[in-house]
């Protein structure tokens, strides 16, 4: 009997060992391609990077020269998106976490946010085309594209911000209110400062997504080729992801160097955003007071 139990345990431990090994291999197989892709892109893209490639205009139908207008365009679009989505998203998150009663309306708001998060990016593009470009007559412009991207980014910002605000302990609010502060004063002076790292994380992740999107700006603000920088929010603009799409599928005979260089610039941008998020998080964890 005792022998049987021990055999069984041995068998189970052997199964465990095999299982753990298999899972480890699978997890590594999932993650390894990501490292490989980064190395691959850096290796092939680095030779293309030069002062001229980053800071000059495209020439010869984009087959030589640089990608400066695309970089600037993506920068403008990101700023434009932030202007609309950050205040609105944070305010909405404050409402949901601090004000919203537990009723049908609030449930509807939550359902709407889940729904917004699930709408395909190309559908946002069509919506932006219908509302901003045609109906409001903003034309194919930075403004239309930024507004479209802003609505798309909203759910990311709202949900991460709400989580960050909810994580602030209730006692902070109670003490502040009992000292005579109004609700808004409490939120602004006590709750928000504590939640800032979480909010920043959400904002960066949201904007990272907006900056990398192509489908929503296809018909709302992206220009195939624009040999100058946009002058006003009502100008169309080149953008890095759309530019990559164009040079890798729409222009025959495109030098591969330029394509790899463009991918590398996009990758560096994403990496930077991710590093910023990691730094914010670890610093916040170290400084947390509760």
């Amino acid at each position: 009997m005792q022998q049987l139990k021990e055999d069984n345990l041995k068998k189970q431990l052997r199964i465990e060992k095999i299982g753990f090994t298999v899972l480890t291999i699978l997890a590594i197989a999932t993650v390894l391609p990501i490292i490989a892709v980064v190395i691959y892109i850096v290796y092939l893209g680095a030779p293309a990077i030069s002062w001229d490639f980053i800071f000059s205009m495209p020439r010869d139908g984009m087959k030589s020269g640089g990608i400066w207008p695309a970089i600037v365009g993506t920068f403008y679009l990101t700023i434009g998106t932030a202007i609309f989505s950050v205040p609105l998203g944070i305010a909405a998150a404050i409402y949901l976490s601090e004000y919203a009663p537990n009723n049908k309306l609030t449930q509807t708001i939550r359902l709407a946010i889940i729904n917004l998060a699930g709408i395909p990016s190309v559908v946002y593009g069509l919506f932006g085309l219908g509302l901003f470009v045609v109906f409001l007559n903003f034309g194919t412009s930075i403004l239309s594209a930024s507004l479209t991207l802003a609505i798309m980014t909203l759910p990311v910002i709202i949900s991460t911000t709400e989580e960050a605000i909810r994580a602030v302990p209730q006692s902070f609010r109670v003490v502040s209110i009992s000292l005579g502060a109004t609700k808004w004063q409490t939120i602004r002076r006590v709750v928000l400062p504590q939640a800032i790292p979480g909010i920043l994380t959400g904002v960066v992740l949201g904007l990272e997504r907006a900056a990398g999107e192509t489908a929503p700006i296809l018909f709302t603000g992206a220009a195939f080729f624009l040999p100058r920088l946009p002058n006003s929010p009502l100008d169309a603009t080149m953008a890095l992801p759309y530019h990559l799409f164009v040079i890798s599928t729409q222009v025959p005979g495109m030098p591969i160097q330029i394509q790899y260089g463009t991918v590398l610039v996009l990758l560096v941008f994403v990496l930077l955003m991710n590093i910023i998020v990691t730094i914010i998080r670890s610093r916040a964890r170290a400084k947390r007071q509760w």
């Binding site: 189970q12 199964i15 465990e16 753990f20 899972l23 699978l26 997890a27 999932t30 993650v31 391609p33 490292i35 691959y40 205040p87 305010a91 909405a92 404050i94 409402y95 949901l96 004000y99 919203a100 309306l105 708001i109 709407a112 889940i114 729904n115 917004l116 699930g118 709408i119 990016s121 190309v122 559908v123 069509l126 919506f127 219908g130 509302l131 609505i151 759910p155 709202i158 109004t182 609700k183 992740l205 990272e208 900056a211 990398g212 192509t214 489908a215 296809l218 992801p241 990559l244 799409f245 890798s248 599928t249 394509q259 991918v263 996009l266 994403v270 990496l271 991710n274 998020v277 990691t278």
Partner: protein
């Protein structure tokens, strides 16, 4: 005295204003969803009057000659989504289990940022890698006439769904109270038995939600599929369809909207396809959030 009164009044008005605008911001999400639905329907509904329903759900998409059958596009989306799930669901869930239950801390701290990096990669970048690496590789290895097939799309879309699945499933696993694990171990189960007999079943609904949200992302993905699936609106008839070019709803909208005349039947049916897409993703997300809310209720019950 008077002065403080006035201060109090302005304070009150200020507070009111802020509260109102915050409240309105809270409601704005509903407004946006309604506006999106309105504009899609406004431009999409005319299709029903321009093209007979029977033709809309027929099998030939060739807008230049006025064939507007969207069936191949719907099936195209479904084939690619199914293929992507076959890749992403096992890898995603097992990676989540590994990260949450098995990996030592330092491995976790390497793997999690890498998964987040994958989540942050723009879909054009994946499409680009698909064109240059995955598609030639598959073409040569499987001896296909072209590497731009549903299979290529599925593999890359799997990569897009994996981060979503990993992070939500991992959350679900982390939310399982540690006492469950300790209890199982105390009863003499091995860690392996604990994972599959206790922890994973306890996190089941969260894992299911992760899968639904991952699938939702793949249905709506546009740029990657447009770049690597070959864009041929063929009706997928059998399993072989995986190895042939295909065209999804999203890719159709993205590649054709730029060239149609505003207000034409072609323009309207592209919006109609967007309505179909909207409904698909709505359904998937409703199911996911339903699973999610059930989970919350159960946790509440356990705690009370």
């Amino acid at each position: 005295m008077k002065n403080t009164n006035m201060n109090k009044n302005t304070l009150k008005i200020g507070e009111q204003l802020v509260t109102r605008s915050i409240q309105f911001s809270g409601y704005s999400s509903i407004l946006f969803v309604l506006m999106i639905l309105f504009f899609l329907l406004y431009e999409g509904i005319p299709t029903i009057f321009e093209i007979p329903l029977k033709e809309i759900f027929s099998t030939r998409w060739y807008p230049i000659e006025n064939y507007y059958g969207i069936l191949p596009l719907i099936l195209g989306s479904l084939v690619v989504t199914l293929g992507a799930s076959l890749v992403a669901v096992p890898f995603g869930i097992l990676t989540a289990v590994y990260i949450a239950e098995i990996a030592p801390k330092w491995v976790k701290e390497i793997m999690k940022p890498l998964v987040e990096l994958l989540a942050g990669l723009p879909s054009v970048v994946l499409g680009f890698l698909g064109i240059l690496i995955v598609s030639p590789f598959l073409r040569d290895k499987l001896h296909l006439p072209t590497g731009l097939t549903a299979l290529t799309g599925s593999i890359l879309l799997g990569g897009i769904a994996i981060p979503t699945i990993v992070s939500i499933a991992e959350d679900a696993l982390n939310n399982v109270p540690n006492s469950y694990r300790l209890g199982a171990l105390a009863l003499g189960l091995t860690r392996w038995q604990t994972i599959w007999g206790v922890t994973v079943p306890a996190a089941k609904s969260g894992i299911l939600m992760a899968v639904m949200l991952g699938v939702g992302r793949t249905i709506g993905e546009t740029m990657t599929v447009m770049m690597v699936t070959g864009n041929a609106p063929l009706l997928p008839g059998s399993l072989n369809a995986l190895f042939m070019p295909i065209r999804t709803m999203t890719a159709t909208i993205a590649s054709e909207m730029g060239e149609v005349a505003s207000g034409s039947p072609h323009y309207h049916i592209l919006f109609f396809i967007a309505v179909v897409l909207f409904l698909f993703t709505l359904l998937v997300n409703l199911i996911a959030s339903n699973i999610g809310s059930k989970r919350i209720k159960r946790v509440e019950k356990m705690l009370s």
